[in-house]
């Protein structure tokens, strides 16, 4: 049964990585940049929910919605203030700016909310106990996996069939041509940040419900791992983020359970390196040759 428990824990952690990875991959797909501040948006979302439910006594659902609203606005403001002026700048300048934004968010959180960890109250409590208590599945786990599936389904439909979703794909392929079609590239990029950040808020709440320690650096490691998951699955690919996130979560939990807790992160990155050696564009990524 411990094997099954590990599988379930892995899928649950992987679902969180997948939701975060979606934000990285969509922003990369359209803006061709790595938004390293994405992980810290998760942290902000978790804090907003923490205070909304804890200090203001809001219902958890209202707390999550508020966190989504705040993060959506935050994502659009970050894009507009920090990244939009750098549209034509070399990618290294954008990368350094993203790291700067990440630090800015972490330090602001520390200033506002202190460095001491807070204990996050899970949005749902309790769980299922089956096989006479041998297998325990918490409601947080069920909620996490279900959220991930719903998000994937809705987002795939939006990108595949929706008018704005198609415009996003058009922008990600060729911004100049998209403009010639009448697509407003700036607002499409802004929308992508908005969606990614709203998802980050959900991920933040789910993650802190499963692992309840909340502090200003809470988002940073999961952010990096989710970025790894996005690269693993093929950066720019939405199904890739899903597959990459799930696999990464499972590998991490299995490494912890059967190999070594200390080495689990190293094993995760080793898996990434192997995948990239075999398929440089990631599991589901398309190999796009450089234009000559």
């Amino acid at each position: 049964m411990s094997f099954l428990n590990n599988v379930i824990t892995g899928i649950s952690l992987g679902s969180i990585y997948a939701i975060i990875a979606l934000g990285y991959t969509m922003v990369y797909g359209i803006a061709k940049m790595l938004n390293f501040a994405h992980g810290d948006v998760i942290m902000v979302g978790a804090y907003v929910c923490f205070f909304a439910t804890g200090s203001f006594g809001l219902h958890p659902v209202a707390g999550v919605l508020l966190a989504m609203v705040v993060c959506t606005i935050l994502g659009m403001v970050i894009e507009g203030l920090a990244y939009k002026p750098l549209r034509q700048a070399p990618s290294l300048a954008v990368l350094i700016t993203a790291i700067g934004v990440s630090w800015f968010l972490q330090n602001s959180a520390q200033l506002l909310w202190g460095a001491a960890p807070k204990v996050f109250t899970p949005v749902v409590s309790g769980g299922l106990s089956i096989f006479g208590g041998q297998l325990n599945i918490s409601y947080v786990t069920i909620l996490t996996v279900a959220s991930c599936l719903v998000i994937m389904a809705v987002l795939s439909a939006f990108i595949g069939k929706g008018k704005m979703g198609k415009a996003m794909r058009a922008c990600s392929e060729d911004k100049g041509a998209a403009q010639l079609m009448g697509i407003n590239v700036n607002s499409t990029i802004s929308m992508t940040f908005a969606i990614g950040s709203a998802l980050a808020a959900i991920a933040g709440v789910l993650m802190c419900s499963a692992y309840p320690t909340l502090m200003p650096t809470t988002g940073s490691l999961p952010g990096i791992k989710a970025f790894t998951a996005a690269v693993f699955g093929g950066i720019g690919s939405v199904p890739g983020a899903f597959v990459g996130g799930l696999l990464l979560g499972i590998i991490e939990i299995f490494a912890k359970a059967y190999i070594s807790t200390d080495l689990s992160d190293a094993i995760v990155f080793l898996a990434l390196i192997i995948v990239l050696l075999v398929k440089p564009s990631g599991l589901l990524g398309k190999y796009v040759p450089e234009k000559v």
């Binding site: 415009a167 794909r169 392929e173 998209a178 403009q179 010639l180 079609m181 009448g182 590239v185």
Partner: protein, 235 residues
Amino acid sequence: MALLQVNDIHVYYGSIHAVKGVSFEVNQGEVVTLIGANGAGKSTVLNTISGLLHPRTGGVVFEDHDLKGVAPHKVVSHGLAQVPEGRRIFLQMSVEENLEMGAFTQPGSTVEPGIADVYERFPRLKERRRQIAGTLSGGEQQMLAMGRALMSKPKLLMLDEPSMGLAPILVEQIFDIIKELHAAGTTILLVEQNAQAALAVADRAYVMETGKITLSGTGAELMASDQVQKAYLGG
């Protein structure tokens, strides 16, 4: 008054002065061609009209609208569509999705009839409607690029080297389509290196050399001109 007026535009790429005081006009219903060698500045002129580039001085007037400061995605709504050089269709999207993108500024209810019109003109595209555009042949891709531009129901269609890289038979086909569109009343601004074919379909023509217009006249006049014969028609 002319449908499109380009007034003494100067366009720079950083410190490179690519277009040096170009003026010309396109009247309703005309096919006007802009010919010239590589690097003359033809694409730069079209991209300036489309709003992707901004003239340092001079301006573009379409119908009665000064396009100064109009964002590129708004230019389409004025009735100006461009088929860019190298087609630049969305290679990872299907044929039909490309056409839908062409109708981005159009009300939803007109998209389907618009697609049906394009399929009627280009039956090949209909057969391949679900195919990913990147897998189309060069000629089909050019048809898709033209069909996509027509989806916005443009008052002026700008084509940048539509015959580039196509086999002679397909070049002929593309020029036949231009003639058909012309006959149907579409106003066209055609940029070409294939001077022979372009002059043959054009009502009027301009010759560009290193950022300036050096010659203009009717298609037939330029076809007969010594200068054009020597420089572009190998005569």
